[in-house]
């Protein structure tokens, strides 16, 4: 027997496999970051790469985000395809000039002459008591700023396909993985973090949402770990006779507005769930998209669940209070149905 009938991976291993295969295919692809080499990435996204490709292509850096992200921008400008890992998205504050004034804008500043084909990979999300400077998602912050694509996979299949797409894309791509979807042993076990992943390389298009579950009564649009929560909520709702459609946006920039509108025209009700802050963020953008494009289809005011505008608490009880979960999503969906 030479083939497996099925092959599953955790999301973490799917990301590492995508990078490994792209590094094997294209020798301009390389990785830089803190603890991405010997340690394999603190969340395992670069596991095994140093042994296979050596320290010239898998570079452990000092704690110097401005330095190595700037170096990645320079390498991308010169024709390489770097992947830089910002260990936690919360750390963006120490390197935002390189991210936003250089990575995101050089293509524009050069009149379209100088592409910056790099991937900035970073970990996001809470739920494991890591406090307010290690638990944010912040994707709305980056999606707000023009010049970067922003992708957020929720499962192993998309994680691999979106990473391959991000590496091959000639634009800078912010690749954000939620720590809770990786399938890491030290996090709360999450069965949805392990799934079928084809061994051969493939792409998942950036800017296309996925219907994670079809339904007819209410649309639940979300991203990242909240997709899992929404799928759990949809199971609960089904028991109550409510059919929820779960849309995994997968990409905030570009945002698949047509997928949102198509679903709202079908279900006539919209709930947006986000583990990012409530104000000025993804929930407002998605709801506005629905109101602007499918106002007449809406049978109730759109609703949203997001982090209230407070820092993420360290206390487990308080943190769970502010995070979206299946019960909150199911409750909000029921309220929408009866509205």
């Amino acid at each position: 027997m030479t083939t497996m009938t099925e092959r599953k991976l955790t999301t973490q291993k799917a990301i590492a496999e995508a990078i490994r295969q792209e590094m094997g295919r294209d020798n301009t692809v390389f990785v830089m970051g803190e603890d991405i080499g010997v340690y394999g990435g603190i969340f395992g996204a670069t596991e095994g790469l140093l042994d296979e490709f050596g320290p010239e292509r898998v570079m452990d850096t000092p704690i110097s985000e401005t330095g190595f992200i700037g170096a990645a921008v320079g390498a991308a400008i010169n024709g390489m395809r770097p992947i830089a890992e910002l260990m936690f998205i919360d750390f963006f504050g120490v390197c935002m000039d390189q991210i936003y004034n250089n990575m995101a804008k050089v293509h524009y500043f050069s009149g379209g002459n100088i592409p910056v084909p790099m991937v900035l990979m970073t970990a996001a999300g809470g739920g494991y008591s890591d406090a307010g400077q290690h638990s944010q998602t912040l994707w709305g912050t980056f999606a707000h700023l023009p010049g970067m694509k922003v992708v957020v996979p929720s499962n192993p299949y998309d994680a691999k396909g979106l990473m391959v797409s991000a590496i091959r894309d000639d634009n800078p791509v912010l690749y954000i993985f939620h720590k809770g979807v990786l399938g890491l042993g030290w996090m709360t076990n999450n069965p949805r973090a392990t799934g079928m992943v084809p061994e051969d390389p493939y792409t998942v298009p950036i800017g296309k949402a996925a219907i994670a579950r079809e339904g007819s009564d209410v649309t639940v649009a979300t991203v990242g770990l909240s997709v899992h929560r929404a799928l759990d909520a949809a199971d609960q709702l089904e028991a109550d006779g409510i059919s929820a459609e779960v849309i995994d946006l997968r990409s905030l920039v570009p945002l698949d507005r047509e997928a949102i509108l198509d679903s709202v025209r079908k279900t006539h009700r919209l709930l947006v769930v986000d583990e990012d802050y409530r104000s000025y963020g993804m929930t407002g953008e998605v709801i506005t998209t629905a109101v602007e494009g499918a106002f007449d289809a809406l049978e109730a005011p759109p609703a949203r669940i997001a982090i209230p505008d407070v820092p993420i608490p360290y206390s487990r009880v308080l943190e769970q209070f502010v995070l979206p979960d299946a019960g909150k999503i199911a409750g909000a969906a029921k309220t929408l149905i009866t509205a």
Partner: protein, 82 residues
């Protein structure tokens, strides 16, 4: 003959480990060297590869405490299933 796949020895201290992810389902066919599970002892993770070709059966549940050196599943040769 069924081959037992064991929880690897990761520490010297005799702590129990757990399977944190199964990459196969009960009854999946695997080839020698295929990744079948990720296990963890004292927060140290390790991959478990199939030692032989065959069909994987008797998977211990995720997060079920298992002694290092104790079986986490068995692999049965296809010829035995025929």
């Amino acid at each position: 003959m069924a081959i037992e796949v064991l929880m690897p020895f990761i520490t010297d201290g005799g702590e129990e480990g757990v399977v944190t992810a199964w990459m196969v389902d009960e009854g999946s066919s695997v080839a020698t060297g295929a990744l079948i599970a990720e296990v963890q002892v004292e927060k140290v993770s390790q991959d478990v590869l199939a030692p032989v070709d065959g069909v994987v059966i008797g998977l211990v549940p995720i997060n079920h405490p298992t002694a290092q050196g104790a079986p986490i599943c068995r692999i049965v040769g296809m010829d035995e299933l025929m």
